[in-house]
Symmetry: C2
Subunit: 260 residues, 2 copies
Amino acid sequence: MISRMRPLILLSNDDSVKASGLNALIEMLSPFGDLFVVAPDVPRSGASHALTVTTPITVDKIRESESLTVYACSGTPTDCVKVAMSCLLPRQPDLMVSGINHGSNSSVSVIYSGTMGAAIEAAMLGMPAMGFSLCDHSLNADFSASVKYGKIIVQEALTNGIPKGIALNVNIPALPAGKIKGIKVCRQNKGSWNEDFIMKPNPVTGEKLYWLTGYYHNEESGAEGTDETALSEGYISIVPTHFDLTAYGVIEEMKRFEEL
Amino acid sequence: MISRMRPLILLSNDDSVKASGLNALIEMLSPFGDLFVVAPDVPRSGASHALTVTTPITVDKIRESESLTVYACSGTPTDCVKVAMSCLLPRQPDLMVSGINHGSNSSVSVIYSGTMGAAIEAAMLGMPAMGFSLCDHSLNADFSASVKYGKIIVQEALTNGIPKGIALNVNIPALPAGKIKGIKVCRQNKGSWNEDFIMKPNPVTGEKLYWLTGYYHNEESGAEGTDETALSEGYISIVPTHFDLTAYGVIEEMKRFEEL
């Protein structure tokens, strides 16, 4: 039974309902209100802001207690937020939180991130929203520092709000809580993922299979004010993100296309 | 055989190698250079900037002539650009063009668009890039005006360049060429897609199936300088997009999170 008195918080992620990062997020948020989880049924890392448009999606309620409801959804993280809002939630949530992702979503990784896709979709639908990512890809990562600092960040967002249309991209360094120096509000670091696909033949048919791999190239290593720099110095980074992709700085220069 | 003398242009889309919009794009670009297409093997609309990370992808060369090479790829539009750059192209292309999408990618639709996902990925990898979308979803849409104006835009981009890290989001109204008033360089219109899923039971099992639908809500109808306004007035809209999601305008306000 979802209370009308306590805050209602929508949760999602891209690592699936089975991810230990989601359990850590539930632990982080349970002091603050009633939790409503709609998360992918299987891992959908790298889903970005994708939608499922050519097939229907399904949802399956897998847990329900007084203050926690959990649905597994066959769609993307963005689908999870949309179907929660359209069909599943009893009312508009007070907050949406995505994560805790197994692995960093700093710098340009935010573009590919399903964790942040869900948070940005929530911001598009008018909710205060944030995504948490721990800079540790391992399945058994230690989320205790993330939970500790996450509670502080969520408390502040619930008490004093965050601007409409903004989703916070929160990344936590893979350090014990005692080694984390604090929080820095940052801009997105300039960098790129340079891809090397590993080609391995299908062992049965011989067909060429390309597996995505790649390495991150930091184009402004040590630059002041970026999320990468904050993380490398032992701080939690918060980048306020929005969904207006317009490159305002080049509009004047591009006006020459109007003369064609 | 790809020439070293003529420009090399990489093409992709999200409607698949079979889409008539891709044939229109080939017609548009063939006067300018050698064309190298890597596009999804089946439609992947709404793919946004998604990557395929849990399975390998495959590529299949389906056409090769003197100035046109076509690969069908099992991955997303972003995968297509990445695998083209890593494994398939003989050299760095001079331009990347995505589309022509069957349907508008103006306003916030750019966030969900696989067409623009591919173009933005190309910009991230250092190429001048643009995506074309015709505001007509039909399979048999008339692309002749898009081809005519697209040639003018591509000629300008090849001659005078576009800034590094920028992908142009070009939307063309569904009008005959003679009715199009010209080109406007715009910002992304404020609006949102408000979802209504249609729930229909699976006719065999009875399981609830949710089909995505929804309607666009224009939050600033008629506002000056937006792509929606330009399109509604009969202009082609060009929004220069980038991949820095930082909401710079709220960083100072958010600095209060550093005091926690």
